[in-house]
Amino acid sequence: MPRIIVIDDEKEAVEALKRFFERRGMEIILADNVDDGVRLIREKKPDLVLLDLFLDGQSGLSVLRAFGHARCPCPVTILSGSIGDVDMDQAKGLGVEDFLLKPVSLEALKRHILKKLFIEERMEKNISHSKGEVP
């Protein structure tokens, strides 16, 4: 079962998101601040993280910075109401490839998540496959 951590402080929104994706057989874990987010990523090893840039006065990017040079162990999609050029550059520097600007529909988010999970899955397969072929 795919496991996704959503780090966002918009309570009503993430609860709707959680219900929607849980009906589709995904595990959604919620965090509304930087510290919880970092801890949960370390503990739960999610397949994907959805990260808001504005977290109760803190920057969402602090979550990524917390992993330092080790980088966040899972793919991260920035989902935010406003993504400035500076933030985008910094996020890219921290290894983020995907940016979604709110508002999005849950259907669109679902397509994005499935695509990401599928790509990850295939990449992992490729890696294990190549590992198998080339000892």
Binding site: E10, E12, L17, R23, F54, S80, S82, L101, K102
Partner: protein, 720 residues
């Protein structure tokens, strides 16, 4: 008093007045002529006056002659000069009244030459003989009537022209004509009494005793009504004349009494005093001339000292108009103030009486009348422009006269400072109908100078105020700029939440439709209800964000009023919340009961508090990064101090480095890392708002790493 050359008293008086006439007349003519040698009017008057002077001198010499032969020659000269008195008078009047009559003049000149020639033949004066108590009197020749007709025609026709024009004119010109008429009427009628004895009519030449008055009356008109513009010169002439009449007259009297030694002694005694007496009386005369003016000046100096304090241009201009209306009561008074952008003089304020014509709203800076006023640099009377239109620059001056007539004005007063005409005033006729005098013009020169200064002051103040306003506007836009990210995030989050809730609800409906066993109606309805409620909440929240921004961006009110300090701080905090998350800051508001209401501009003060909280937040975030145990806290504390409220705002952030403290209120100084976070205008504008707009004070105290304490002193609201 008998026995001087055997003359009786009347004859003596006759001679003395004639002598006075001669001196006065020549002196005035010379002054008038020298005052403006280029002016046709001045030249023509000079010529006339000289003729009168020579005529009168000849008359005196004639009666002092020792034998009849000598007397005859002098008397012929008397008649010769009188011919030229008549024709030069006509010439002067033609120029003064600007009327046609050159042909009559040219014929007159020809005739004057011919008749003047005949004066030296027995056809005019045949011989001299004693008559009616006079030792010598002329007996007429066969052509005397021709001479008399010529003389009477040109003299009385000229007087008639003056009288006719007098009835048509108004204002200062009418007054001038009134005095010219009276003066010359006395002169000519008085002089004409000389004719009677020659025709054996028993009318003594009494009139001649009063001829000398004509110069005095003209002199009065010159001083009072600016006739030919030689006011001070005339005052000097009269004084010079009076002083020397005395200094010379007293010794002359003794000489005439044949006490020659006494006469000589007195002469020696008086001569050195002459110049001193002259200076003494001249000063006295000037003081007297300026007396009325001083009274005006005092009220004006009082009025104009108030003028400099008025910073509002519109109020100032209205005040000037009111001052003038009160002092002079003209039927119209208006001020046009230069408008740089429009390159025109715009009507600033005006007062009209008696249904006067509406005024022009604006006069372009290129208008001839503007150029004329600027070149003159002093108050101008419409009547004078009309006179000058004949004198010099005929075309230009008449064009100006036309434009002035367009204002329906009697006087224009330019206000010039540093070579720029900042404004000009337009004045109508005085309601009393009295013309503008030299005193009035002096008064207006002073007023115009004061007004120029005051208007320039007000304009400067206006400009500074406008640049302040622009600065605030720039600051406001900058703040909105720094809020843009936060705003977009807030609004987009509302939309996003709506989108998620709707998708979730649609999903629930789909589940219900597919398998009602999984989700019953009873279960679905509360889900929908909760969802819709959340949706409405988000819509309202989004609207509030937009409204908050609009309130801030649109507010341009500048008036101050009583404001509840706590409300003001809370509103500011709401504003800041658009930019930053306030939930991780502890805010403490502690306001003493007698310090609740300040007098100020809510929008501006909100801007100040916004900046302070924003700065504090930035500095406290920095501090928290280095020391996570710190709880960021801002404390607002207000207490009453006399008529002011002292507000201190303390934070426990990083504080300000010593080297940055001096630069804190400098524009564009910022320690913030990125320009998105601060543009460096904040503190500079805050200082302007507190000091200039509220008459308060702002200062700070800070120790690096310990936080900042900002102290703001604001006026307490009088109503609160």
């Amino acid at each position: 008093m008998t026995d001087f050359l055997g003359l009786d008293f009347f004859e003596q008086l006759y001679l003395i007045t004639a002598f006075i006439t001669a001196i006065e007349s020549v002196a005035l003519s010379i002054f008038v002529f020298l005052k403006n040698t280029g002016s046709r009017l001045h030249r023509s008057y000079g010529l006339f006056g000289i003729c009168v002077g020579l005529w009168s001198v000849s008359l005196v010499c004639c009666h002092l002659s020792l034998d009849l032969q000598q007397a005859l020659l002098w008397n012929r000269l008397v008649h010769f000069f009188s011919v030229f008195i008549a024709i030069s008078f006509y010439n002067f009047i033609l120029i003064l009244l600007q009327c046609r009559g050159r042909k009559v003049l040219n014929v007159g000149i020809m005739m004057a030459v011919i008749i003047g020639g005949f004066c030296f033949t027995p056809y005019i004066i045949s011989h001299m003989s004693a008559r009616f108590g006079f030792r010598i009197w002329p007996s007429i020749g066969s052509l005397y009537l021709v001479y008399l007709t010529f003389f009477s025609f040109y003299s009385y026709y000229s007087l008639f022209l003056v009288f006719r024009r007098f009835e048509q004119e108004s204002g200062i010109k009418k007054e001038q004509l009134r005095y010219i008429f009276i003066a010359l009427f006395i002169g000519f009628v008085g002089g004409s009494t000389n004719f009677a004895y020659s025709f054996d009519l028993p009318i003594p030449p009494v009139g001649n005793l009063f001829v000398f008055l004509y110069v005095l009356i003209l002199a009065y008109a010159i001083v009072r009504y600016r006739l030919m513009d030689i006011r001070v010169a005339v005052a000097s002439t009269v004084i010079l004349f009076l002083v020397y009449a005395f200094v010379m007259g007293v010794p002359f009297y003794f000489f005439y009494k044949q006490q020659y030694l006494m006469s000589l002694l007195l002469m020696a005694f008086f001569a050195p005093f002459g110049p001193f007496l002259y200076l003494f009386f001249q000063r006295r005369a000037n003081a007297a001339l300026l007396k009325v003016q001083r009274r005006y000046q005092q009220t004006l100096i009082q009025a104009s000292s108030g003028m400099g304090h008025i910073k509002d241009l519109r109020k100032l201009v209205k005040l000037i108009v009111r001052i003038i209306m009160r002092a002079l009561k003209p039927d119209l008074c208006a001020i046009y103030v230069y408008n740089k952008e429009a390159e025109a003089y715009d009507l600033g304020a005006n007062l009209l009486k008696n249904n006067a014509m509406p005024l022009l709203e604006s006069v372009h800076a290129d208008a001839k009348v503007v150029e004329y006023m600027f070149n003159e640099g002093k108050p101008i009377l419409l009547d004078e422009i009309k006179i000058r239109a004949v004198d010099k620059n005929r075309v230009a001056a008449s064009a100006v006269a036309l434009e002035v007539a367009g204002f329906n004005a009697a006087m224009l007063v330019p206000s010039i400072i540093d070579g720029r005409m900042v404004a000009f005033m337009v004045l109508g006729d005085k309601l009393s109908g009295a013309p503008y005098t030299a005193d009035d013009i002096n008064v207006f020169t002073i007023l115009a100078n004061q007004a120029a200064l005051a208007i320039e002051n007000a304009q400067f103040y206006d400009e500074v105020k406008r640049s302040h306003e622009q600065l605030y506007q720039a600051e406001k836009l900058a703040i909105i700029g720094t809020m843009a990210d936060g705003l977009a995030h807030q609004i987009n989050n509302r939309f996003n939440t709506l989108s998620f809730i709707i998708d979730d609800l649609l999903d629930s409906i789909k589940v219900f439709q597919r398998d009602p066993a999984k989700l019953s109606v009873e279960q679905l309805i509360p889900v929908l209800e909760l969802g819709f409620k959340s949706m409405i909440g988000n819509v309202i929240q989004g609207g509030a964000v937009v409204q908050g921004l609009l309130n801030y961006a649109r507010h341009t009110q500048t008036e101050k009023r009583a404001i509840d300090l706590r409300e003001l701080i809370e509103d500011s905090l709401q504003m800041v919340a658009l930019k930053i998350r306030l939930s991780d800051i502890k805010v403490q508001i502690d306001i003493a009961q007698d310090a609740e209401v300040v007098h100020g501009n809510a929008v501006q003060l909100q801007e100040v508090f916004f900046n302070i909280v924003d700065n504090a937040h930035y500095s406290m975030t920095e501090k928290k990064d280095s020391d996570p145990t710190v709880i960021p806290t801002i404390i607002f504390h207000a207490k009453r101090e006399m008529d002011t409220i002292l507000l201190t705002i303390t934070d426990n952030g990083m504080g300000i480095k010593l080297q940055d403290q001096k630069k804190l209120f400098t524009p564009f100084f910022t320690t913030k890392a990125s320009s998105r976070k601060g543009n460096g205008l904040g503190l500079f504008v805050m200082q302007k708002i507190i000091q200039y707009d509220h008459g308060g004070k702002i200062s700070f105290q800070s120790e690096y790493t310990k936080g900042v304490e900002i102290r703001i002193v604001l006026p307490v609201s009088k109503s609160g």
